[in-house]
């Protein structure tokens, strides 16, 4: 019994930092509608700045003073990021800002590496709270008890701030209707900056407060961001008490999971999230997102048309160039093009459901990695001929998409995104922890193509034909009646339902199609590399695809493909440098600010403007 109580207390203590970080994210999302991927980075900054300050400031006053100062410092950094980067792109398409926050993650990672080095830092013990207390005979660290006491105080303080102060009224009003708040004469820019700063400060405090338990390292940002999103979603976006309950729930479950079912720890919280979302689609204390509540941000998409003669000619020229490439290019260029085509197909499949269908998936890697693993497992365990195993990649990914999609499409917006993320984490943990089948992080190796394809040249053409074929198929479908039905369901689900369109069925079919294409990309990938590891199923892989779709332009048809080609090429050149993340992050941020409609969208706008001024001159 005592052991259970001790576990419970450990869980409660762990909830403190998680709740702080999650409440910050929830606050930022509620007011600014930014899905802040970089929130984990602010948490990491909090930990490193905290360690440094604690070394400088002595004693108990120094320790707690350092924590307080850390929050302020991180809050200032957050406000700076908001002013310099985010403020410029609020008018961009919805969710575009997450690309910018992804750039911020990369920049902060390398800056932290530069300043604090690659070594993990141990956090100092809290003065006066070094030992343990015995509770029913079980040792419980004194600092844990202090954290348990602090957490409700933080909740109360935040609750007071939100419900009783003027700032709180503004925040709540902006959460409900930010346009109205603007119309009532509130300076939105500074409200957003303030809220972003406050949210970042909360993350910073979370990072500093957990120091005596965890320390500081360079992987903290990605390690916590998953849990934070889970907490915010389980609690209900924008609900502080919800985030509190969810943080406690997840932390306590995790403490018990570590003790009794260590294999479950990676996936436990995602299982809980999936269960909660299936029963309560808007989280424990969240409220339903009313359709159109956030308004259409930015210009509406313009009607689409297949390429005219000029576009066709350019595409043909590009394809001819790619087909002739082996004649004059060096081998590494061929490898690069294979990578580009594979990633472009993967991105195009996400773009299909995201751009045309309006379904933002945060877990698309499940189908890419799923396809790769399906083929690899067949080859590895049953020595299936490559041709057959390869066919299995899109098939298995499609079936997986059917299963996952069946649960997810009943949700929309951020909740849809998070449920797809949860399911992809399930798939990932399966690959990671079911060692007897998947060999865990040792990966599956020696997965080579059949003899007639084995070699750079045959495989290059194989990839080119299937990859480009897949992309063109998706494009064709976008212009078909089905593609139009998908777009109708995105533009106005009510109207679509009122003209006989079964929106959910259309979306499910699209989801499965996208899954199959991602699986095809995964199949091409695994036989080109000869191996597959759980990294192909990670959150980071899903985010990569998201980033390039937005970078290329959501509201354009070529966005995914162009974004993928751009990012793969840039990464290829930059990764030779020591601080490539910093540079890549800066490139992404610059692109986001300069081209808020994505590469293709902005180029198209420029071309339109040029054509118009031509016409004016000729008149």
């Amino acid at each position: 019994m005592a052991f259970y109580i001790a576990l419970f207390l450990t869980g409660l203590a762990n909830a403190a930092a998680l709740f702080l970080v999650a409440s910050g994210l929830s606050l930022i999302f509620g007011v600014t509608r930014i899905v802040n991927f970089a929130h984990g980075s602010f948490y990491m900054l909090g930990a490193f700045i905290g360690v440094t300050l604690m070394q400088v400031l002595p004693g108990a006053v120094g320790f707690w003073g350092a924590i307080a100062l850390t929050g302020l410092a991180v809050g200032l950094i957050g406000a700076l990021v908001e002013i310099v980067v985010l403020r410029r792109i609020y008018r961009a398409p919805e969710l575009f800002q997450l690309v910018a926050t992804f750039g911020v993650i990369l920049v902060i990672q390398d800056l932290a590496l530069m300043i604090w080095g690659a070594e993990d830092r141990l956090g100092p013990r809290a003065p006066g709270l070094r030992g343990v207390w015995r509770i029913f005979g079980e040792p419980v660290p004194k600092y844990d008890i202090a954290l348990i006491a602090i957490t409700p105080v933080i909740l109360l303080a935040l609750w007071y701030l939100i419900t009783r102060t003027r700032l709180g009224i503004l925040v709540r009003a902006a959460t409900q209707d930010r346009e109205m708040v603007g119309a009532l004469g509130v300076n939105q820019a500074w409200l957003f900056t303030g809220v972003f700063g406050l949210g970042s400060a909360l993350a910073g405090w979370g990072g500093a407060l957990q120091l005596p338990k965890g320390g500081a390292d360079l992987l903290m940002d990605f390690n916590i961001i998953g849990a934070v999103f889970v907490v915010v979603v389980i609690g209900g976006m924008g609900s502080l008490p919800g985030a509190f309950i969810a943080a406690v729930l997840i932390s306590v479950l995790n403490a018990f999971g570590v003790a009794f079912l260590p294999q479950s720890t990676l996936v436990l919280m995602f299982v809980v999230m999936a269960a909660v979302l299936i029963v309560r689609p808007y989280g424990l204390l969240g409220r339903e997102e009313v359709a159109g509540e956030h308004g259409q941000v930015g210009a509406p998409e313009t009607p689409i048309r297949p390429y005219g003669p000029r576009g066709m000619a350019l595409t043909t020229l590009l394809l001819a160039l790619l087909a002739a490439l082996p004649g004059f290019a060096e081998p590494f260029v061929l490898t690069l093009v294979i990578d580009i085509v594979v990633f472009a197909l993967f991105a195009a499949s996400l773009h299909f459901i995201l751009g045309t269908g309006g379904m933002v998936s945060f877990g698309h890697a499940a189908f890419f990695g799923g396809g790769a693993y399906a083929a690899a497992l067949l080859v590895f365990h049953t020595e299936t001929p490559m041709e057959l195993a390869f066919l299995f990649a899109p098939l298995a990914a499609g079936l997986l998409a059917l299963a996952i999609g069946w649960f997810c499409i009943r949700l929309s917006g951020v909740y849809f995104a998070m449920l797809t993320l949860a399911f992809s984490q399930l798939v990932w943990s399966l690959a990671f922890q079911w060692r007897s089948v998947t060999r865990g992080d040792d990966g599956l190796i020696n997965i080579w193509p059949a003899d007639w394809l084995n070699g750079p040249l045959p495989y290059y053409y194989f990839t080119l034909i299937l990859g480009v074929g897949g992309i063109l198929t998706l494009r064709h479908i976008i212009h078909s009646p089905f593609g139009y039905a998908l777009r109708a369901g995105r533009d106005s689900p009510r109207q679509a339902e009122a003209m006989g369109i079964d929106v959910r069925r259309v979306q499910l079919v699209a989801f499965v199609l996208a899954g199959m294409m991602a699986g095809l990309a995964g199949g091409l990938f695994v036989f080109s590399k000869g191996s597959v590891f759980p990294t192909e199923l990670e959150i980071a892989k899903s985010f990569d695809a998201l980033i390039v779709v937005f970078l290329g332009g959501v509201k354009t048809l070529a966005g995914g493909v162009v974004g993928a080609s751009f990012l793969t090429s840039v990464e290829h050149w930059l990764t030779r440098l020591e601080y490539w993340r910093l540079l890549l992050g800066l490139v992404i941020i610059a692109l986001v600010i300069l081209m808020p409609e994505g590469i293709v969208g902005t180029l198209r706008r420029l071309a339109l403007r040029l054509r118009r001024s031509d016409e004016e001159v000729s008149r």
């Binding site: 259409q296 509406p300 998409e301 313009t302 009607p303 689409i304 048309r305 297949p306 064709h476 479908i477 212009h479 078909s480 009646p481 089905f482 593609g483 139009y484 039905a485 777009r487 109708a488 995105r490 533009d491 106005s492 009510r494 109207q495 339902e497 009122a498 003209m499 006989g500 369109i501 079964d502 259309v506 079919v509």
Partner: protein
């Protein structure tokens, strides 16, 4: 004339608030019938229960004798009931004619067709429908740049695509200039006469209602207080109390 639609004791309550309080009525074939009432009387709620957007708390809806209560909107649409909304819901990313083509694609059951180019399908037919509402000049403009009154007309064209036997129009002329209102309702009246379809519509403009409706129903605070010809309704003392006694609606209609 046989009846095409019948509502029996239709009721909708939200957390104890009774939005529609057990109303019964019917619409007959070839009839142009208006449902009027002050703001908040429950007109839209009533419409949404008829076409499946809302599930009634109690009561039944019959279409040509077949029970359709609680069926999803798309099934009711397939049974020949068209619908336009108070706030238009067109597809902003498509051109005007593509909006109509979308409805035709659905009508011809080609939604899960992956082969043809959608913008080439049923273009001629779609142009005909646009001509009916005099929008053919704007066929290829993006839908997002249309004026509000034109959107209302586009909605009508879309609603006619599956050749409905019954059309439910929720405030078809809201937000239009007075002359355009008369014109649009005249168009609807012509369609009713030529094609023999039935129309049930809500409207705040009493000139429009009394000029065109064959029959008028009056809804007040969720209850049906009158159902009859224009003259009967005009003379009904309870209607006079709601409209003239309160003195809001006739004036409002003139201002709007």
């Amino acid at each position: 004339m046989t009846e095409i639609l019948r509502a029996e004791s239709l009721r909708k309550s939200y957390d104890g608030f009774l939005a529609v309080d057990g109303i019964s009525f019917s619409v007959r074939e070839g009839e142009l019938k208006a449902l009027i009432g002050p703001n908040g009387a429950g007109k839209s709620t009533c419409f949404n229960m008829l076409t499946g957007q809302l599930k009634p708390t109690a009561g039944e809806v019959y279409l040509r004798g077949a029970r359709i209560t609680g069926r999803p909107p798309r099934e009711i649409w397939r049974m020949g009931v068209g619908r336009t909304f108070q706030i238009t819901g067109t597809y902003r990313s498509m051109s005007v004619i593509e909006n109509v083509q979308m409805a035709l694609i659905s009508h011809h059951r080609r939604l899960f067709s992956f082969g043809p180019r959608a913008w080439k399908l049923y273009r001629g037919e779609a142009l005909e429908f646009l001509r009916t509402v005099s929008l053919e000049d704007q066929a290829d403009r993006p839908c997002s740049v249309l004026a509000y009154g034109d959107l209302k007309r586009l909605e009508l064209a879309i609603a006619l695509c599956h050749r409905p036997r019954l059309l439910l129009m929720d405030e078809p002329t809201a937000g239009m200039a007075p002359s355009a209102r008369i014109e649009l309702m005249q168009l609807v009246a012509d369609i009713v006469r030529d094609q023999g379809l039935s129309v049930l519509f809500t409207e705040h403009d009493m000139d429009v209602v009394f000029a065109h409706a064959h029959h008028i129903m009056v809804l007040n605070r969720g209850a049906l207080i009158a159902d009859g010809s224009a003259d009967e309704v005009r003379r009904d003392p309870r209607v006079q109390e709601v409209y003239l006694g309160g003195g809001t609606l006739f004036k409002e209609a003139g201002d709007a």
